[in-house]
């Protein structure tokens, strides 16, 4: 999309290091640019770089991850909706009982946004005494092997009296699924996020209930389109107002993610995200519609 419009795309990868990201952005500014698309490693540590971009009058997009500033346009998926879709998918399967929450790395502020969405759906049920969150753990770096050990300990602590597991992404769900399998509990409602191939396959097999799929292609296209519009001083299409972590008002374009359950697995196949063969691999009894 950028090339035909006469722009060149130059990129730098900070590899998870907020410090490197700052130097990267400085050298990109020095090299001259019309617009910057930044995937922030940290919502606050990246602010000095955003100040530099503003001083140079370079229109800036905060891509995917939130940045706590009013001076950039936030282009991301609606992450509150991610949490909401996870909870809605789960509640459709079970609206009561003992739930376990497996959350992401506690140093990533985005988990609070996911939780906010989850609670929009779950809080009324918790208040009514139908759902009880019996255990909660954060998983360092969202590592599947740690999620497995944590889930094993929680199942031991609860003597297997767990009815559903609200996992925040598909990686941790992989660890949870392994822990459930070793207790013969695989198949109880389990959530995820990202639309990982393995998670979609689990949904087809009835081992996971829901994943929230964010079409990365669509996000990239939206960001590129917005960057061109901003560089040319036009209004960004579909712009709304978004409140940042500290309450600053930020222009934003928020795409809606899709909750994938057994009933709409065909969506990811049609989008060429996963082949039918991979999706339905190992599905034997009671195949979902997408595998028939």
């Amino acid at each position: 999309m950028l090339d035909p419009a006469g722009y060149t795309y130059v990129s730098a990868d900070a590899q998870g290091d907020p410090q490197k990201q700052l130097t990267d952005i400085e050298s990109l500014i020095a090299g001259g640019c019309d617009a910057a698309i930044v995937l922030a490693q940290d919502s606050k540590a990246v602010l000095p770089a955003f100040d530099r971009l503003k001083a140079e009058n370079i229109p800036t997009i905060a891509y995917d991850a939130p940045v706590d500033t009013a001076d950039a346009t936030f282009i991301s998926f609606d992450n509150v909706a991610v949490g909401r879709l996870q909870a809605e998918g789960m509640v459709k399967a079970i609206d009561h009982g003992n739930w376990v929450a497996i959350e992401g790395d506690s140093s990533h502020p985005i988990i609070n946004v996911f939780r906010q969405g989850q609670m929009e759906v779950l809080q009324p049920l918790i208040d009514a005494g139908k759902i009880k969150i019996v255990a909660k753990q954060n998983i360092e770096n969202w590592k599947p092997d740690l999620a497995q050990a944590a889930m094993e300990q929680i199942l031991t602590q609860q003597d297997n009296k767990v009815d559903a597991v609200l996992a925040m992404n598909d990686g941790t769900a992989t660890g949870v699924a392994a822990a459930l399998a070793s207790q013969g509990l695989l198949g109880i409602p389990l959530s995820g996020q990202d639309g990982d191939v393995t998670a979609l396959n689990r949904i087809a097999k009835g081992q996971q209930t829901v994943t929230v799929w964010k079409n990365a292609m669509a996000l990239g296209e939206t960001a590129a389109k917005a960057a061109i519009e901003m560089a040319e001083g036009k209004a960004v299409e579909g712009e709304v107002k978004y409140k940042t972590e500290s309450g600053k008002e930020q222009p934003a374009v928020l795409l809606t993610p899709v909750g994938i359950t057994r009933d709409n697995l065909d969506v990811v196949v049609k989008a060429n995200w996963i082949s039918k063969e991979k999706l339905c691999d190992g599905v034997t009894e009671n195949p979902p519609a997408a595998c028939q």
Partner: protein
């Protein structure tokens, strides 16, 4: 290895000697028992259930296997920071091999994949070893490079996608629902282990007679056999007391734990009895003297790091099989757990001092703290803070103990 000191023998020394253990080990066992009892109290009796001890033994196996290698690496005055990344890379490689290259359901797939994973680990170790020993680059730098390289290679070779499920037989190596050997075989293992202890004690008597060294009293030997037999029987009974959920069949010893025991025994023999191990300790104690004594210290360094890579391959099999998935984030930061286990177990970063069983006990202490705190519902950042304090405290106590012994 241990520096010989002459001092009056205390009561605890006598018992320790009877069990063939040193006083430091006894102290570590004491601390472990205290931690277990403490958690049992704090979790109102959940911690010391057969089920939790079964979990614990599985959870400790990966770091335990790698700690055995790390002890020797540190004894040789080197470090390996790449072990966590190797774990991730070899895991993704092994998973890809099973799902993309070999036929996944074929009965030969599991062992072909295992051999390939171990070979890859060993090759990584050899390459890093050559860079350290022959190119003269410090191991800290070489393996820091390895840490970055293999973590990113783990993402690169499959674009960060998780690969699952894996071959069914392969999964057993991770100790899942069917990955234990059952009650009967666990008892067979226990009896064989006790027979092994008796054999070792008898051979010790024979050797001392042959060399004309003062014989241990029969009572001491009887206590040795008694203590070890009791530990072995308690272990087998615990593993058998945990039943498969739903069917109620006794689980027995999980396969990863058998692998860990095998590695620990083999590595202890290598470290203590084998020429290779003695050379490593000599080199760690004083590289110059070792070289003057005719030891090829460069080749030895390559071998030590190759052995570490071999064990990374083995550990990677266990963690990948256990998770039933090859995920590129697997093993991130695990190098720190492995090094911490070796250090808590009394391995000196100055080189020349360390024991295999110390490394495993170190791993067990850390995993007990982590698992116990999850049972109590302690938030993750708090868990890490506690582990950090324990690490520093353990080394401090260890150094104080060594200083007291030296005077």
């Amino acid at each position: 290895m241990a520096v010989a000191t002459v001092r009056p023998r205390s009561f605890s020394d006598n018992i320790a000697q009877a069990a063939g253990l040193d006083a430091r080990l006894l102290a570590m066992l004491g601390i472990l028992v205290l931690i277990w009892l403490g958690f049992d109290f704090l979790t109102s009796g959940i911690f010391l259930t057969a089920r939790n001890l079964f979990n614990l033994s599985l959870q400790v196996s990966v770091v335990g296997i790698m700690a055995c290698g790390m002890v020797l690496v540190i004894v040789a005055r080197q470090i390996d920071l790449s072990v966590g990344s190797q774990l991730g890379f070899i895991g993704v490689f092994g998973a890809l091999l099973q799902t993309e290259i070999l036929p996944i359901a074929d009965p030969n797939t599991w062992w072909l994949a295992c051999i390939a994973m171990i070979v890859v680990g060993t090759i990584i170790g050899v390459v890093q070893g050559v860079l350290v020993a022959y190119a003269g680059i410090p191991s800290f730098v070489v393996t820091l490079g390895g840490l970055l390289f293999f973590r990113n290679a783990a993402y690169q070779i499959n674009e960060g996608r998780t690969i699952s499920p894996l071959n069914e037989t392969f999964q057993l190596l991770g100790g899942g629902i069917n990955g234990s050997i059952g009650a009967t075989w666990s008892w067979v293992f226990g009896i064989a282990a006790i027979a092994g202890v008796v054999l070792v004690v008898l051979r010790g008597r024979q050797r001392r007679r042959g060399h004309g060294v003062a014989q241990r009293t029969p009572l001491t030997d009887a206590i040795t056999i008694g203590v070890w037999s009791a530990l072995i029987i308690a272990f087998v009974m615990t593993m058998n007391a945990y039943q498969q959920p739903k069917t109620g069949i006794a689980m027995g010893i999980p396969i990863p734990v058998l692998i860990l025991i095998g590695v620990a025994l083999a590595m202890s023999v290598i470290a203590k009895k084998h020429r290779f191990g003695r050379h490593v300790f000599a080199m760690g104690g004083s590289p110059e003297s070792a070289e003057l004594a005719g030891i090829d210290t460069r080749l030895l360094t390559v071998k030590v790091l190759a052995l570490m890579g071999f064990l990374c391959g083995l550990a990677s099999i266990v963690i990948t099989a256990r998770l039933n998935a090859g995920a590129s984030a697997t093993g991130t930061m695990t190098e720190l757990n492995v090094i911490a286990a070796a250090v808590i177990g009394g391995t000196s970063l100055a080189g020349g001092i360390g024991t295999i069983y110390g490394g495993i006990l170190g791993a067990l202490i850390m995993q007990s703290l982590e698992s116990g705190m999850i049972l109590m519902g302690v938030p993750t950042p708090m868990q890490k803070m506690v582990l950090a304090v324990v690490l520093v405290l353990a080394v401090w106590i260890d150094m104080a103990y060594r200083r007291r012994q030296a005077t």
